[in-house]
Symmetry: C2
Subunit: 165 residues, 2 copies
């Protein structure tokens, strides 16, 4: 490996900001959702994806892609949500290897009830404290970094309509 130059002031400042955000923001989001809806942030995103999908159904595979997670992780999380009656699983007709995950009415109520307070938190912690220009900058920075983190391009096709059933 060739020698890697140390970071300069500008780079260090940016990197420190970024890892601090990485450490603190997820904790803040999880804390609010846990308190108000007994959900992790990941569970909230998962339920939201199902809520937006046609008929509130997605294949596990598509749901894993949409939430940028692995199938093992998703399977465990869905098992827990199923135990709480928020999601139900049933085998997919067209491909009998596949499983569909569907939001139950109770699950819909949960996500609908949790959303306002969550959005308020996101606004309070992030959106309201940065300028509109900075919002665009965040999106652009994400567009620059994410492709390199996401070799299989899972997140990037979130809304390209790969739905199940």
């Amino acid at each position: 490996m060739a020698t890697v130059p140390r970071m300069n002031e500008q780079e260090s400042a940016a990197w420190l900001s970024l890892i601090s955000l990485l450490e603190l923001l997820p904790a803040a989001l999880d804390a609010q959702l846990q308190r108000d809806a007994r959900l992790t942030h990941f569970e909230y995103v998962l339920l939201t994806m199902l809520q937006r999908a046609p008929k509130h159904v997605m294949r596990m595979k598509a749901l894993a892609a949409a939430t940028s997670s692995t199938l093992p992780r998703l399977s465990h999380v869905v098992s827990r949500l199923e135990g709480r009656g928020l999601v139900e699983r049933y085998p997919c007709e067209e491909d009998r290897r596949a499983t569909n995950a569907r939001l139950t009415p109770e699950g819909r109520r949960t996500v609908i009830r949790a959303t306002p307070e969550h959005i308020a938190t996101v606004r309070r912690l992030v959106i309201d404290v940065v300028s509109p220009e900075q919002l665009d900058q965040i999106a652009a920075i994400g567009d620059a970094i994410l492709p390199g983190l996401d070799p299989e391009r899972r997140l990037t096709r979130l809304f390209d309509g790969d739905v199940a059933d």
Copy 2:
């Protein structure tokens, strides 16, 4: 609670970028450090803080602040690192409630050996894929968001010289 307006396109795009980064970047950093040095990102940051401190010693309290963590978490992590011979603990003389954590020579070797590959990864994943202007933007965005996440201002005084012993 007053009604919270839904997010517009601009806000959603920024928010999606941000939570995607929050999900994927830590995993990528942990994976590299785990593979090359059997360290979590948190452990690497911790060792680096000790490495930079005078005499490679800090009080647990100061180390918790510097790594933006809680004392319980830190205590567990230091216990593990101590078991691997990378850190040692000893009671603080001036305040017998306190404990000092000191980097061992082996710990110093570990962090020194891990750093080049880690910096290379940070460059490859983040620094090299954004523009210099975007680096400044990241720092500015962090400055805007972090104070609201960090009520006790732990991170912000990382280098204000609150060292131990």
